[in-house]
């Protein structure tokens, strides 16, 4: 990560109480591609019988990582807001394993940024979920990605 990317990456982990609560951290962000991590936690389990993480954790993670990818593509901290987010659940997250996300901002217009990505445990080629999301750029009130 460059110096600015490093600062922005840290901000996403620490400014938002929710991402801080999830233990969300940006692993890398460069040229419109962001990688992030949420450590496994018993508190975030959706199925008590198997210990699998709840889908909502995957939603928060992909929404936020998509926002980081957009900021990385824009190159400057800019107010954005999620327009829509689609998630396909491909397999359960492995109990006890950390969750990663890799999202790419593949197109940016004057108003809208388009992203796609995956969530995975160890192996990106065997994803837990895939996502596609769009974000409005330059929203009036400042919103962190995922900030409503």
């Amino acid at each position: 990560m460059g110096a600015l990317d490093g600062i922005i990456g840290k901000l996403f982990g620490s400014i938002s109480p929710h991402t801080r609560s999830l233990g969300f951290e940006v692993v890398s962000m460069k040229d419109g591609v962001a990688v992030a991590k949420i450590p496994y936690s018993a508190e975030l389990v959706g199925d008590p019988l198997s210990g699998v993480l709840h889908g909502g954790v995957v939603t928060s993670m992909l929404d936020t990582t998509g926002g980081v990818a957009v900021i990385s593509a824009v190159g400057l901290p800019t107010p954005i807001a999620t327009l829509d987010l689609r998630i396909d659940y491909l397999r359960p997250s492995k109990p006890g394993e950390d969750l990663f996300a890799r999202v790419e901002c593949y197109k940016k217009t004057h108003n809208v940024a388009f992203t796609r990505g995956v969530a995975y445990n160890g192996d990106e080629a065997d994803p837990v979920a895939s996502m596609a999301a769009t974000y409005m750029l330059r929203t009036q009130a400042f919103r962190a990605p995922g900030g409503g």
Partner: protein, 150 residues
């Protein structure tokens, strides 16, 4: 509360409407602070506006992921209530539309089963704060059902 036999647990849930027991059994639902009420025969799911669910402290606004999680949970609760499931439905996919910024107050959600067959249900859900006619987010999704017929 530990769930030993999901089929029996879910049959009991449909009989009693004790969603608090279900929420107690799901760590992440407890984390979100979800609450389910039965109002005029329909389920209303509430998520409290608390600090740890804030995505943007400047506005401030709830994190979009938590609103998505509320909507997905409301959809699953509705399926558990209406369909004779022997296991918790699995989410195949969801699409969430974000319509307004989510203030840090109680957020309510209501789900509608658009269509369900033997294996798959299509569900829509809406979330609002204060005025149900002004939704802050909407979801539609597909859920895999497990019933005695499947």
């Amino acid at each position: 509360m530990a769930v030993r036999d999901p089929e029996e647990f879910l049959a009991e849930l449909r009989k009693t409407g004790r969603f608090d027991r279900l929420i107690d059994a799901i760590p992440y639902a407890r984390y979100l602070g979800l609450n389910v009420r039965i109002v005029d025969g329909d389920l209303l799911t509430t998520m409290p506006g608390v600090d740890k669910l804030i995505g943007n402290p400047v506005l401030p606004a709830l994190h979009g992921g938590t609103v998505g999680a509320l909507l997905e949970s409301a959809a699953i609760f509705k399926l558990l209530w209406e369909v004779e499931s022997i296991a918790v439905p699995k989410t195949i996919n969801i699409t969430v539309d974000y319509l307004r910024s989510a203030r840090v107050v109680d957020t309510l959600a209501r789900a509608t089963i658009t269509k369900h067959g033997r294996r798959v249900a299509n569900v829509q859900a809406r979330a609002w704060q204060g005025d149900e006619a002004k939704p802050i987010a909407a979801l539609h999704g597909h859920f895999l059902l497990k019933t005695r017929d499947t």
